[in-house]
């Protein structure tokens, strides 16, 4: 009996060792690891791995490499350098005087990966196809505005509009999505462009499909022989990795494990997982090499959205009271252990937006008064010292931070509102709110004030973290708060079936351009829909006549003009005064990069391009990466 047991164990051991000998590399033998770059798929496992037709409205996980490697758009924005990059277009859009016509000049010398040149025919065919079939993406906006589209020569396309539109080119700016050209000679052959799987795909970008997982976990791309016939090659030179692998490893813990084994070069994580990988892998780094590590250039502003159609959030005083009941230092501490840049405007406090909007508006913010007096003086809510208070917290947590005020403002944001629960209390009291014996707030009708925050379902998402932090703050203030994460949070927001949620307080700006049309226009009165109807604009259901005027003005001016910048500031001021939604901190991107096989990432010390592997701009990072000799 004993003997058979030991034989069993020995053979089990041999079996395990046999596996161990084969190693734990995730790559087959003919894909050399040192020539391969491995990145994470942000949006998860691909549901339809064999389908590369991303041109319909269906979801196809474009960040499995399709938008980063396979396709080139007409234009891209880079929110770090603040520039608009001409990719397949040779130059910016050319509008006529009254914005009823737009001309696009195409870059010459670009080819599809099967050798066919990319010309105006592809563009015209693509636009017309999208206009015919309602299942294709951009069907709606094109039909709304485009009267006709035609080519004047092989590299010039002209759009004629049904009505003036100074922002039509925005449909073509790849900003994690945008209309991208597809090959006419392939799609023409397809029976039904909607169900066509585009497999194998033909690339306009510098890589072609090599292999993919039937189960949808990974997609492998190989560099094109003729990479120099793509905008990437023409603009930035040869992409360094011979292969790029997009791999979805799963939860944050799985990504940490993968990177610790050097099987994942670029990924994003949660703050906690990031600390775990730093402890484990000496080659891992963040956007910054030191605390606070996170990306502070992300073009998204996080915060809280209040449903302005629900009482008592229809009262400006209540919205401001909820804002002043937040101690932003404690808030960011709870949400991100202090590592996020605070901001009061409805645009993120990234270096470019600080330059464009935060600095010009600083004096105005400092002098802003609320319609309430404290000790006989009008109350000034703005607190430019808030980032320095956050620094104190961070030091207490044992992290090192620079001392220069400029560096601190860049890392932690320019300022926030004062923590003033006393003022918040007065704002509520004067609207008929009362406090019960336990210090809990009662609504003007005498019932307890309960707030249910509808939260993003993923506990690691900054939106979800906003909800948790807000719940803590408002509980301390004496409100009964619950947090309800829901997969349906977006649908609930659209139909207005919520009171407070953690959606972006405003639609995010372009990132690489000061134009705020995207931010402001969703608030226009004509987009307002009452609760129960699907929202068209911003889900807060707030609108304002003064803002309508600003938006209308914007539609009549060129997006590069100085007037447009001034209009943006007017709009932001209205949002601050009315506080329909509460911006809190800029999206802290917790990225982890492994420098074991590759180096020269666009970190804070050398921000040559945007830092994410899931943005379409990723292809412009690849020529700059350097392999590490091992």
């Amino acid at each position: 009996m004993k003997r058979s047991f030991s034989i069993f164990f020995v053979s089990l051991l041999v079996l395990v060792m046999g596996f161990a000998q084969a190693g734990f590399a995730q790559l087959a033998e003919d894909i050399p690891r040192e020539k391969t770059f491995i990145a994470d798929v942000l949006t998860g496992r691909v549901g339809t791995p064999a389908n590369f037709n991303v041109f319909t409205t269906a979801w196809r996980n474009p960040d499995r490499g399709v938008q980063q490697l396979m396709l080139e758009p007409l234009w891209l924005v880079d929110y770090v350098t603040g520039e608009v990059i001409n990719a397949l277009a040779a130059e910016g859009p050319i509008y006529n005087e009254d914005f009823t016509q737009m001309t696009v000049k195409l870059r010459e010398g670009c080819q599809w990966s099967d050798g066919v040149p990319i010309t105006a025919d592809d563009i015209v065919y693509g636009i017309e196809l999208c206009m015919q079939d309602s299942g294709m993406s951009y069907n709606a906006p094109f039909n709304l505005y485009v009267d006709k589209v035609y080519k004047t020569d092989d590299y010039t396309v002209v759009f004629e509009f049904k009505e003036p539109n100074a922002r039509f080119h925005a449909n073509f700016i790849d900003r994690w999505g945008g209309w991208r050209p597809f090959p006419k000679h392939i799609f023409e052959e397809a029976e039904d462009p909607l169900s066509f799987d585009f497999n194998p795909p033909i690339s306009s970008g510098p890589y072609v499909l090599k292999d993919f997982d039937q189960a949808g976990y990974w997609t492998l791309w190989e560099r094109r022989e003729d990479w120099d016939k793509t905008p990437t090659g023409i603009l930035y030179g040869m992409p360094q990795p011979e292969y790029v692998l997009f791999y979805y490893y799963g939860d944050a813990a799985n990504k940490v494990i993968a990177q610790a084994n050097h099987n994942l070069d670029m990924t994003d994580l949660t703050m906690e997982a990031f600390r775990a990988i730093l402890e484990r892998n000496e080659y891992s780094r963040g956007y910054r090499k030191e605390y606070p590590w996170v990306v502070n250039v992300d073009p998204c502003m996080t915060g809280l959205t209040l449903n302005n159609d629900v009482s008592p959030f229809d009262l400006k005083d209540v919205r401001w009271a909820l804002t002043l009941a937040i101690d932003i230092v404690d808030y960011i501490g709870i949400a991100f252990d202090g590592a996020a840049p605070m901001g009061v405007l409805h645009v993120p406090p990234t270096p470019v937006y600080q330059e464009w909007y935060y600095k010009p508006l600083e004096e105005w913010l400092k002098n802003l008064t609320l319609d309430i007096e404290i000790d006989g003086e009008p109350f000034k809510p703005y607190d430019p010292e808030a980032p320095f208070r956050l620094v104190e917290y961070v030091k207490e947590r044992g992290y090192d931070v620079p001392k220069e005020p400029e560096a601190i403002r860049e890392m932690f944001g320019p300022g926030w509102w004062k923590y003033a629960p006393d003022v918040a209390e007065q704002l509520l009291l004067r609207n008929g709110f009362t406090k019960d014996a336990n210090g809990k707030w009662l609504l003007p009708d005498g019932t307890p004030w309960k707030i249910a925050i509808t939260a993003h379902p993923s506990p690691s998402h900054p939106q979800h973290r906003n909800s948790l932090a807000a719940a803590q703050q408002w509980r301390n203030f004496g409100i009964d708060v619950t947090v309800n994460p829901s997969e349906a949070y977006a649908a609930l927001a659209q139909t207005g079936d919520y009171v407070v949620n953690d959606n972006w307080p405003a639609i995010e700006p372009w990132g690489g351009h000061p134009d705020l049309y995207r931010v402001l226009s969703p608030f226009r009165t004509s987009y307002y829909r009452p609760i129960g109807e699907q929202a068209v604009g911003h889900s807060s259901r707030w609108y304002n006549e003064k803002l309508d005027k600003v938006i209308e003005e914007m539609e009549k001016v060129d997006w590069d003009s100085d007037k447009n910048l001034q209009l943006g500031m007017e709009g932001l001021k209205i949002l601050v005064e009315e506080m329909p939604t509460i911006p809190t901190f800029g999206y802290p991107g917790v990225v982890a990069w492994d420098e074991y096989y590759w180096t020269n990432y666009p970190g804070a010390e050398n921000p040559y391009t945007q830092p994410y592997h899931h943005w379409p701009n990723f292809k412009y990072m690849l020529p700059f990466l350097r392999p590490v000799e091992r």
């Binding site: 496992r45 196809r60 309602s134 709606a140 709304l144 900003r175 791999y247 799963g250």
Partner: protein, 335 residues
């Protein structure tokens, strides 16, 4: 003929009723969620910041609702569903339009079936064998040791157990791959390189399922057997001087397995539901995450496809067991 009418027919009718009721319930429940598939698609498109003119969103919503066939009343959709089901068609996936649901299921099913059939069978056989022996020889030292081990392992939440295995053998001692079904770039084919690759990748997921499965089967079986041991006929057999091993296997184990067979049939039938937590922890391909994603995106057609298959699978397994039961237990006669 009498056999058919009195035994077979009622059971088949019952099977059909069960399937009908089950499928009707899984038709209704998803439609109660506030998750709107059209909104989820629009959301995905705009979530990362792609530009969509607010005015365009409205017309897009209308055309998508029409495209997905979600316009009619619930009753109309219900009848349309049965109509399609009889043709073996679950319609297109809504979130991954217009890929047919059957195609999505067929991509995931082999992984799930391969993993779950083998682990379910292994843990059933090993667990019941050990449990039966430990129940019969319950005073032996090894039986007590096994009992204590399984008593402690059994209650560990599966998720934690799986995560622990992953951290131990893919992180602290990186012996096994941490994710996926096979190596990147490996050609799929019936050859040793591919098969060993798949085995290597499935080792940790399978181990996690087998260990906890053995513990559960072990404990149930041990309890059943220790009851049987006290029965008169076992006493007689012992008194009659039959060999211990013969009593253990022929009388005790065989009888103890009867109730366990039903359990096996049900677990095998449940395979169509997939192993969600296993798939999440080990990033292993399968149906569990497919249906979980479908629930989250409100993909009614896909939810219905997977759950209907699951209902039919489990009901079918129970029917078969019901019909075969008299073969195992001669005490139950057909009537």
């Amino acid at each position: 003929m009498l056999f058919f009418k009195r035994y077979l027919l009622p059971r088949i009718v019952q099977f059909l009723v069960v399937v009908f009721v089950g499928i009707t319930i899984v038709f209704i429940v998803p439609r109660l969620t506030p998750v709107d598939p059209v909104q989820q698609v629009i959301n995905r498109i705009t979530a990362q910041g792609a530009f969509l003119d607010p005015a365009a969103v409205d017309s897009m919503r209308k055309s998508l609702t029409e495209l997905y066939g979600l316009e009619g009343s619930m009753l109309q959709q219900y009848f349309a569903f049965w109509g399609r089901l009889f043709r073996g068609d679950f319609g297109p996936s809504l979130f991954q339009f217009p890929i047919p649901v059957t195609q999505l299921i067929m991509t995931s099913l082999p992984w799930t079936a391969g993993l779950l059939i083998s682990t379910t069978l292994i843990s059933w056989i090993v667990g019941n064998l050990l449990g039966g022996l430990a129940g019969y020889f319950k005073d032996r030292r090894w039986a007590k040791v096994l009992d204590n081990i399984s008593m402690v392992i059994r209650p560990i939440p599966y998720y934690i157990f799986a995560l622990l295995l992953l951290i131990l053998f893919a992180y602290l001692f990186p012996i096994f791959p941490s994710a996926g079904g096979y190596s990147v770039g490996r050609r799929i084919g019936f050859n040793w390189a591919f098969i060993s690759d798949v085995l290597k990748h499935s080792f940790l997921p399978a181990t996690s399922l087998v260990v906890l499965g053995i513990a559960a089967n072990f404990m149930t079986m041990k309890l059943i057997v220790s009851n049987i041991v006290a029965e008169d006929y076992v006493m007689y057999a012992k008194a009659g001087g039959l060999k211990e091993s013969k009593i253990a296997f022929k009388y005790v184990l065989k009888n103890g397995l009867l109730p366990q067979i039903t359990g096996l049939a049900l677990s095998l039938g449940q395979i169509f539901g997939g192993a969600l937590i296993t798939e999440i922890v080990f990033s292993y391909p399968g149906i569990g995450t497919l249906v979980y994603g479908a629930i989250n995106s409100g993909d009614y057609n896909l939810i219905m496809g997977v759950t209907s298959l699951s209902v039919i699978g489990i009901a079918g397994a129970t029917l078969i067991i019901d019909l075969l039961y008299p073969l195992f237990d001669p005490r139950i006669r057909h009537r």
